[in-house]
């Protein structure tokens, strides 16, 4: 069953709520190994997204995603702005003109998002970044879609893979972003970007089940 546009809008709203609820948690993770701003930045960005949403929510999914991306780029700042902005811009290009998403559409959009994020941030798996949550999530989603699994199963598998990827960042020594300045001392902490990425996919699985 495809995901109708209104459910995509509902996901964006649910993500904004989730970010707001987890703002302090994300900032705390960022205090441990970064600069204590991830939650606040993402919250500012998604609050702006919600304000802008009424202007585009009756348009196609690609337009909605692109608007989210541009808003995040111009309001979040830090590394999160360009990276999460790229997520939605790339997903928006893959979904241009679409009024609903098949599981394959969502899988392709998420893969394009990941590729864009890797290009912009130049991070590889194992660098202790959001790429560590997204890479296994995209792989799991793709595999489930190819095996013709139902949508809710595919989303659940992808969220669980993201969770495992996020947890796997704990022992890693950061090689990208501000956490990399800590060297060995970055080990033992969960990456904030991997955490927000997982949470977004968790919300997708919960909203679209």
């Amino acid at each position: 069953m495809p995901i109708p546009r209104d459910d995509v809008v509902a996901w964006i709203k649910a993500v904004a709520e989730m970010i707001s609820e987890n703002s302090s948690y994300l900032t705390q993770l960022d205090s441990d190994i970064g600069d204590a701003d991830h939650g606040a930045n993402m919250d500012r960005g998604f609050k702006a997204v919600i304000k802008k949403l009424p202007e585009v929510e009756d348009k196609d999914i690609g337009t909605i995603f692109k608007s989210v991306g541009m808003t995040l780029i111009s309001t979040v700042g830090g590394a999160g702005g360009p990276l999460y902005g790229t997520w939605f811009l790339q997903a928006g290009m893959k979904t241009a003109g679409k009024m609903e998403l098949t599981p394959a559409d969502w899988s392709e959009a998420l893969e394009a998002a990941l590729n864009g994020i890797v290009m912009r941030g130049k991070a590889e798996p194992g660098d202790k970044t959001m790429v560590d949550a997204l890479t296994p999530a995209v792989a799991a989603l793709k595999q489930a879609v190819q095996a013709n699994q139902p949508l809710n199963t595919a989303l659940e598998l992808s969220a669980e893979a993201a969770k495992k990827g996020m947890e796997a960042t704990i022992p890693l020594v950061a090689r990208k972003g501000r956490a990399s300045y800590l060297g060995e001392r970055s080990a033992g902490h969960q990456d904030p970007g991997a955490t927000s990425s997982y949470l977004m996919l968790r919300v997708a699985a919960d909203t679209w089940k």
Partner: protein
């Protein structure tokens, strides 16, 4: 948290309003997107020099906008890189027709946002060069990490490039001055206390009364090692030795010595550090020919210091001595 603020979310906006009122003769402030520009710009035929970064490092960068230094500065949220639309609008606002130099500190977010802004500005037909400062020897430079952080050299590069642009040098020549500062300058810092980002509400890290962080960054990100507090002389030695051995600086080199306060350390202590750093430099045969002592690149209310050495040549000395008139740095006029 005990801070002289109204609401955490209004901190940057209200600071900008204060700057606009206090320095109306030198700068103009644009809002949404936020940036500070020279009141008398853009100047036709002069390369525009802009920088930007998270707020909380005042006077850097906004305090360095004015004649002989920056044409514009883009403030982000506290400790957060500004966004590409800020840099793009600032770039357009200072373009005198001969290109714009972006001075970027080496942080993942700053690089990505400035890269996007430069791409957008080039698409609009403005020539842009970007130079990334990365002078912090506390961070190992490797292709496997984000690389060294841009710290104290940034302030010095902004002064030198501003002077070079004032002489109507070409974009490439102004960027060359920046690259020279980047290549010949090294820094290291330490903290006695943490600092509190307003919206976080509590210190970024806990530092017990008898401990210090060596190799601290300017965003309250913890340093590389924590150890028991030592005397000013011992601490100065722990900062100076890695700096001197990094390039390395050699006997006979003429250097500018910049002893920076991180926000919570009084000048009385910075001069104690300067005195020892000067002695160590002299012992290595370095000639300290210029200096800057004071809180120019801060980390909110963090107590601590950073030391920067910049090897100078005749051209750089002339550029350093050239007149500058900004809220934060002013001489020769």
């Amino acid at each position: 948290m005990k801070k002289l603020i109204n609401k955490p979310e209004d901190v940057v906006r209200e600071e900008l309003e204060g700057i606009a009122l206090a320095h109306a003769n030198l700068v103009k402030v644009h809002y949404a997107p936020d940036f500070i520009v020279r009141a008398d710009g853009p100047i036709k035929g002069k390369v525009g020099v802009i920088s930007g970064g998270g707020s909380g490092h005042e006077p850097m960068h906004g305090g360095f906008v004015g004649m002989g230094m920056l044409d514009a500065a883009c403030p982000g949220a506290v400790f957060t890189s500004p966004t590409p639309d800020q840099m793009l609008e600032a770039t357009k606002a200072v373009n005198g027709g001969v290109g714009v130099l972006h001075i970027v500190k080496n942080y993942t977010g700053d690089i990505m946002n400035f890269d996007m802004a430069a791409e957008l500005a080039r698409a609009e037909g403005i020539e842009v060069e970007s130079v990334v400062t990365d002078d912090d020897v506390a961070v190992k430079n490797s292709t496997w990490t984000a690389g060294r952080r841009g710290v104290g050299v940034t302030v010095l590069a902004e002064k030198l490039c501003g002077a070079a642009a004032e002489q109507k040098r070409s974009l490439k020549e102004v960027a060359d001055v920046c690259r020279k500062a980047k290549n010949f300058g090294r820094s290291m810092g330490m903290a006695l206390t943490s600092c509190t980002v307003p919206h976080a509400g509590k210190p970024t890290f806990d530092l017990p009364e008898d401990q210090m962080e060596i190799g601290i960054g300017i965003h309250g990100e913890p340093g590389r090692t924590r150890m028991p507090l030592k005397s000013a002389d011992e601490i100065t030695e722990m900062l100076m030795e890695p700096i001197i051995s990094d390039i390395p600086y050699k006997a006979g080199d003429e250097v500018l010595m910049f002893v920076n306060g991180l926000g919570g350390t009084p000048l009385i202590e910075l001069y104690i550090v300067y005195r020892k750093a000067y002695e160590i430099a002299s012992k290595h045969g370095l000639k300290v020919v210029r200096n800057l002592v004071g809180p120019y690149m801060t980390s909110l209310e963090m107590a601590g210091t950073s030391i920067t050495l910049l090897k100078m040549d005749a051209d750089m000395l002339k550029l350093w001595d050239a007149p500058v008139k900004t809220p934060g740095l002013r001489w020769g006029i």
